[in-house]
Symmetry: C2
Subunit: 343 residues, 2 copies
């Protein structure tokens, strides 16, 4: 392995000079810089990461904690993770992958050992076990998601409450009076995952305000589960003319079932989803949807982290950033049958 000292010798300068060429923290003459650069090139020098971290107390690594569970929409998770990795790399940082399995102690471990300078947490619960660790050790951190009490924390998320409201608004505007919500999987609610409850809150609030009926049912993504939930919904509320789907894996089963039971979309029932654009656009009926901007979330999370890492510092970098949801109208929503007849 080539060391900085060897580069220095090769270039005929001192070790510190090479270091300054690399970091740019002190002025170096053009000639020297060139010579050093050439030596680095020729010798194929790579600074030793550990030595760097030790001397500078900066590891240039951020930890990303992803959930183990698979009852959330997995592609969204991966997309966020990849966006985090890509954005971090662009800033010269690497990403350490932590699974939820190890729990809060993993946070303590990687920040306490100086392995990671900062952390990004995904799949945040309303009352998340990792939060006490964050508040105690206070490493730079960003949550993708919103806990019940975000005070003093740095959070980024889609404004799911607004997303829910947007869905109801769109459907109510078309004339629907009874809306059913095919929610996330039961486990998501059991864990009090923030986004699910906030969406529901938004849906309810707006439905209440607009005087629209709203029925909510958690639902797994399997075909059978969707069939069961759909049957119950139609049984309890025959007047339902629109669905809001939050569990993306339930989208296709729902469409298939509606089709099979002779309900045309959007002529007989409308469907609006909260899901990634790709899912909405590729569905068997292109879906009117509120996009989950996974990439944007990952990117913003990293950017907030760096704002805190390199920025003015202090607690002023905390706070909640909620991305404004956007509803894109596609083929799956339209006026309810009643309106069509009279329209």
């Amino acid at each position: 392995m080539v060391t900085l000292a060897e580069v220095a010798r090769h270039a005929g300068v001192s070790a510190s000079t090479v270091s300054y060429v690399l970091s740019g923290k002190r002025p170096i003459s053009d000639l020297t810089r060139r010579r050093v650069r050439a030596s680095i090139e020729q010798l194929g020098y790579q600074p030793h990461a550990g030595a760097r971290a030790l001397a500078s107390s900066r590891s240039r690594i951020i930890a990303l904690m992803v959930p183990l569970r698979t009852d959330m929409y997995v592609p969204v998770m991966l997309e966020i993770a990849v966006a985090v990795a890509t954005t971090a790399r662009a800033r010269g940082y690497d990403v350490l992958l932590l699974t939820g399995e190890e729990g809060p102690s993993a946070l303590r471990r990687v920040t306490g050992s100086g392995l990671a300078e900062a952390v990004i947490l995904m799949d945040v619960q309303l009352d998340d076990g990792r939060l006490p660790v964050l508040r105690a050790a206070a490493p730079p951190a960003v949550l993708v998601g919103l806990p019940a009490d975000p005070a003093g924390l740095n959070c980024v998320d889609l404004d799911f409450a607004a997303a829910g409201a947007l869905c109801v608004e769109h459907l109510a505007g078309l004339g629907h009076r009874e809306i059913a919500v095919v929610g996330g999987s039961p486990g998501v609610y059991a864990r009090h995952t923030g986004f699910a409850e906030r969406t529901l809150g938004g849906l309810r609030e707006r439905a209440g305000r607009l005087g629209v009926g709203l029925l909510h049912r958690p639902c797994d993504g399997s075909h059978d589960a969707v069939a069961g939930v759909l049957a119950r919904i139609l049984d309890e509320r025959p007047g339902v003319s629109a669905f809001v789907v939050q569990n993306e894996t339930a989208v296709e089963p729902l469409l298939a079932l509606l089709r099979r039971t002779g309900r045309a979309v959007p002529e007989d029932v409308s469907v609006v989803a909260v899901c990634p654009e790709a899912v909405a656009a590729q569905a068997s009926v292109p879906l009117t949807s509120v996009a989950i901007p996974a990439q944007e979330l990952g990117r913003r999370a990293v950017e907030r982290l760096f704002a805190r890492l390199t920025g003015p510092g202090g607690p002023d970098a905390t706070g909640v950033e909620l991305l404004t949801p956007v509803l894109t109208v596609r083929a799956s929503s339209g006026p309810p049958p009643s309106r069509r007849l009279t329209g």
Copy 2:
């Protein structure tokens, strides 16, 4: 931050003693060990990762390179990644997440800088640009996937050729004489991704051997793409009575389309998939399938890495390990209509 020296002072021993308590590389009396452990506990000591890596030249980190692309089945990728992380953690290692974006140079960077001791590569192409780097720098590495020339490399993968053969065998055994393959997305073939071509090879070989007709069409996962491919297949080969699906996102669209065009599964056509168990079991018709053992792949990859890292060393740890595919019969396959009539 608490250092080893402080622990030593607190416990009334020398720094090296603390180190040996931690590593167990030299005998330490029970009494001393206890005292040191207590001090570590009380002070909340965490060894500094960088210092450790520097002194021992072992970072206890392995790098995992995941593809950026999204035309492969994403949940499989995430599941492998999570399995890798979990298994590595159980051995005291952390996982660094690299995206394909940076290309081969990322490999050089993380191994050259001592950041990662070893690498695991996913989404291996038949002629992968990262292989030259591996052969040149020769860091401990395991590929999840199989390149065209695996000589000197350490590979783990499902035996996709056998998987393909298994599908054909199962269907031929049921009496099918014309089989259509709904393949992976065109991009997968364009990149010469190993698993796709090997599956196809296995399918063709066995079909040839058994005198069964085989028609292969690459296919994206979108509903429209599947519809197009299905129409063409049925047009070209009206006698097709069975489908093998390799692109998991195409599964539901295919089932929906068959249903809609009045073809019952498995009465009129059989469907066999190569996909994760979860997808097969949760499909609208539970699918006869060859499982893609994502977790097992991740675990085996890490285990091979450690065998090489801590084991006897030398090139004897290279080689290819192909997991034997298992076909599980579910509801989606049965005899072709012709057989049923006469049976």
